[in-house]
Symmetry: C2
Subunit: 236 residues, 2 copies
DNA sequence: CGGCAGTTTGAGGTACGTCAAGAATAGTGG
DNA sequence: CCACTATTCTTGACGTACCTCAAACTGCCG
């Protein structure tokens, strides 16, 4: 399948090809890219890399949901990021050539494409535009972090939990009559690590969210009324 | 002073030259760098750029203290970062070619070196290693943000305020007999925007911090007992 | 059926927010 | 030097949200 003069890009068939950090590259780099390229399917709960692991390459999530988490000395942990399809992960340890500071674990069955470290380095070397695109991904991460810091300072925990539900619903919700619903891919404990409260508080936040009437929560099953406002409002 | 065959690097005399993002560059780029280079002294309270301003270049703080802050719709604001000498600021809007999302204001008399946008772009184009060093600065910012998110979730507000005092004391404290002291360069309101609480709470945190005995706080004047532990410990 | 991890609920304490008033400080003009 | 004002900072009272510890409940798997 590979004509050396016009080799096939390994990401060519991916939904996210147009926004890939590996595209465009010089055609002579495509074969190096292909050499270092591999796909890996992760089961729900499976770990892609552990905290303190050496970097093995640049990872791109093409399907599923991955949690990036750091563990602290006292055994607790913070969920720093939820990675969605199209996201690049592991780029800090790749660019800085240092061990991972987070653990990457699949919350749902996921697919990850990897470009092995050595080959990735070689391709980057020959294509400075990749560096620019990786920097752009870094800046997206900074923007996300800033948004989170701002939200923590200005938004109630209840609203932040709602925002997380909305984001997850957008990615994984299924439409049924008059409502979106999903199986929540995070435990109460995960959600607590994400918004920075205790698991008991998450339980109580769910109760308050449900009382507002938009969401119905039963364990991991979440239902969300879609757009109730177009109906006649007021209590006729 | 400029022999074109071996021009003088504009950052050559800077304390932070060895860690400069503009170093090393091809010698043919030094003249472009010099052309775009300018120094600016900021008075206390003066603004380097405003939120929504177009990017004018890459800024490097060589002296002083600069607060990076974003204002929200409701008029409140969050202090996202304190920039110390050697720090690069404004790099997100430079790299992404977009307006600033933060305002940069000097909290102390400061000196900022600027490489104008167009010239900076030209130098980066000819020296991919600069892109790598800028990416490295991005990653430092991500690391700082992660540390802050983790601290917000795991550390008390009192301890986080102490940590800020220690950092400022390290940068601006003056030694006197048995204690470090400084004039606090941030208002209570700034500190509140930094740790995400109300100004009244900052006042009360200071009272509790003072009660612990290490710090003495009187308005903006902060004194800190240095290393009291080597004295005889225990009571009589 | 029992065991186990995940989740919920309750009771009581602490820290922070909010509103309001008062005290200290800095800046201004005589 | 002293008013005068504006800003910043502190203090108090009270309500709310979250934490902590403990216990009970749920669903799932062996």
């Amino acid at each position: 399948m590979s004509d050396p003069s016009n080799p096939i890009h390994p990401c060519g068939a991916c939904d996210f090809y147009n926004d890939s950090v590996w595209q465009p590259v010089a055609s002579c780099s495509v074969s190096v890219l292909s050499r270092g390229f591999s796909r890996k399917d992760l089961n729900k709960g499976q770990t892609l890399y552990y905290q303190e692991d050496e970097n093995r390459g640049v990872f791109c999530l093409s399907k599923g949901l991955v949690a990036l988490r750091t563990y602290h000395q006292n055994g607790s942990s913070t969920l720093l990021r939820l990675a969605y399809p199209g996201d690049i992960i592991g780029f800090r340890s790749f660019l800085e050539n240092r061990p991972h500071r987070t653990e990457a674990r699949a919350l749902l069955a996921s697919r990850v494409c990897t470009v092995a470290r050595r080959d990735a380095q070689q391709v980057v070397q020959g294509n400075p535009s990749i560096l620019a695109r990786l920097a752009s991904r870094c800046i997206s991460e900074i923007d996300r972090n800033h948004d989170r810091i701002i939200a923590a300072a200005t938004t109630s925990n209840k609203q932040r939990l709602i925002d997380i539900l909305l984001r997850l619903m957008k990615a994984h919700g299924e439409q049924s009559v008059e409502c979106l619903h999903m199986q929540l891919p995070l435990s109460r404990s995960d959600l607590a690590d994400l918004i920075g409260v205790q698991t008991e508080t998450v339980s109580r936040l769910f109760k308050r969210i449900q009382a507002d009437g938009v969401f119905h929560v039963s364990g991991r099953e979440i239902q969300m009324l879609v757009d109730p406002s177009p109906r006649r409002s007021g209590s006729g």
